[in-house]
Subunit: 292 residues, 2 copies
């Protein structure tokens, strides 16, 4: 695969890391950055992450073979509107949004139906940092990228987006849009919500200064994801609202029941919950280590 012109709309952590990886793979002649934030784009150009940039998104996607939309979920529909009518009809379009149902809805709203050349995607990678300065070539190596093609998605478009991500060193898997959103609500969106909520609960307690003073390493790890970009995660919670609320409710019922067990001194029930969790977490980490 050789891409003549790759347009990346939104050159932040994900867009920037993708550009770096594709440059390294040497499978693209020109990478054009697009977006609203000119300072960010200029920085990306200075860092050699992109070859040139356009603040006008219509200009950025002009004559591109492939367009990757790497903007926050809340900006997705607006970007689609700026692309529509300016992108080549045969251009392959993909995105990197952390929720897929809302992206498909946005595409449908703008294009009438989801274009057969549009392949929704989601790289399961990132750090709590953001911006092109935080981007790096190895971000996707050994990580998974989930593509959620629709029944009418062109097989060639799917194959091209798959190849794009494989060039970054990622493992590409496919699943349905809804299934993606449920799985990610559980493993990613809910944990972020809980980490933000916990820190916020503690901040608003009277002894909050002391509390943070006596927090140890476990707390630091537990709350690392609460240092992620708040606007991005607000967008994700809203975009994947139904799935997030569903798993949140399940979790709330479970901690209420665990609270009851503690109140009742039900040692057996607490221990069996903790045992089951530890076993699952240890198993999951072993798999991760075998399959980095």
């Amino acid at each position: 695969m050789m891409i003549k012109r790759l347009a990346i709309i939104g050159v932040g952590l994900i867009g920037g890391s993708l550009a770096r990886s594709i440059k390294r793979a040497g499978v693209c002649r020109e990478i054009v950055g697009g977006g609203r934030d000119e300072a960010q784009l200029r920085k990306a150009l200075e860092l050699g992450v992109i070859d040139r940039y356009e603040i006008d998104i219509a200009a950025a996607v002009h004559d591109a073979d492939m367009v990757v939309v790497a903007v926050p979920l809340g900006a997705m529909e607006a970007v689609f509107r700026q692309i529509a009518g300016h992108v080549r009809p045969d251009a392959i379009i993909t995105d990197v949004g952390s929720a897929k149902g809302s992206v498909v809805d946005a595409a449908r709203a703008v294009f009438g139906e989801v274009p057969p050349t549009f392949v929704p995607g989601h790289p399961i990678a990132g750090t709590e940092k953001s911006g092109v300065e935080a981007s790096f070539t190895g971000l996707f190596e050994g990580r998974r990228v989930i593509l959620t093609p629709l029944p009418h998605t062109q097989p060639e478009a799917l194959a091209s987006v798959r190849a794009l991500w494989q060039h970054t060193g990622a493992e590409v898997v496919e699943m349905g849009v809804e299934h993606h959103d449920e799985v990610l609500a559980a493993t990613s969106h809910l944990p972020h919500l809980l980490a933000y909520a916990l820190v916020d609960t503690l901040v608003r307690m009277d002894e909050s200064e002391e509390i943070f003073r006596f927090a140890a390493g476990g707390f630091r790890d537990f709350t690392r994801i609460a240092s992620s970009d708040p606007a991005m995660w607000r967008d994700i919670c809203l975009a994947n609202r139904a799935a997030v609320l569903s798993v949140l409710e399940r979790f709330m019922a479970d901690i209420a029941s665990l609270g009851e067990a503690i109140r009742a001194g039900d040692s057996e029930r607490i221990l069996s919950t903790f045992d089951r969790a530890k076993a699952a977490r240890d198993r999951f980490c072993r798999q991760e280590n075998n399959n980095p």
Copy 2:
């Protein structure tokens, strides 16, 4: 300070790391290990962590200047009973329990009143591993140790236990028993409870295999503490029941309200919560970095 004989009851991660640190500091002539688990004690002896051991706790504390009880909270009272009447009347006694109210209650139940030579303590250190094999000399370096003396605690006993921990490289602070239990419920006990509960919620979902397959680095960090010793954390939740339930309730109210904001699409409220949490977490980590 030179300790002639230091008895450590329970030579696991904490007891073993304390023994190693005190040996390195060269401030103790003999360290005697005591406890029920002979295999663990033999291992500690082989590793050179202790000088000798006794399975009979009465024998282990015989003629000791100082006794450190480093057993799980659930075993604390039973160990006090085995010590009572066998320990030298002037021996200084301390413990390392993660909750202090229950330890004070146990001491009161066994000794009639908390002995003036007893200094309740809690090193804020640990890893998700357990056992003497996981112990190491540097575990307490730069970490905080909280001592919660009572009004009638002997100043000399307090000074000795303070010195003991300072020899490990820890920073020693003092606070009241209840205040300790509230602060630790918030920063340590609740996060452990939530991590165990979240993993368990996901394990019991239909798609649990998939869910863990697509968990990324953030999830790994968030759930690291769910790999901690389940029996130990069950003990802690029960021992610090009141404070844990109080902060759990507060947290449950907060996530319920955040859930409502998501359901209502209240973008402002979600963002302000996430913003406040990120700011607090970033501030806390900067302080930690300045004060390692």
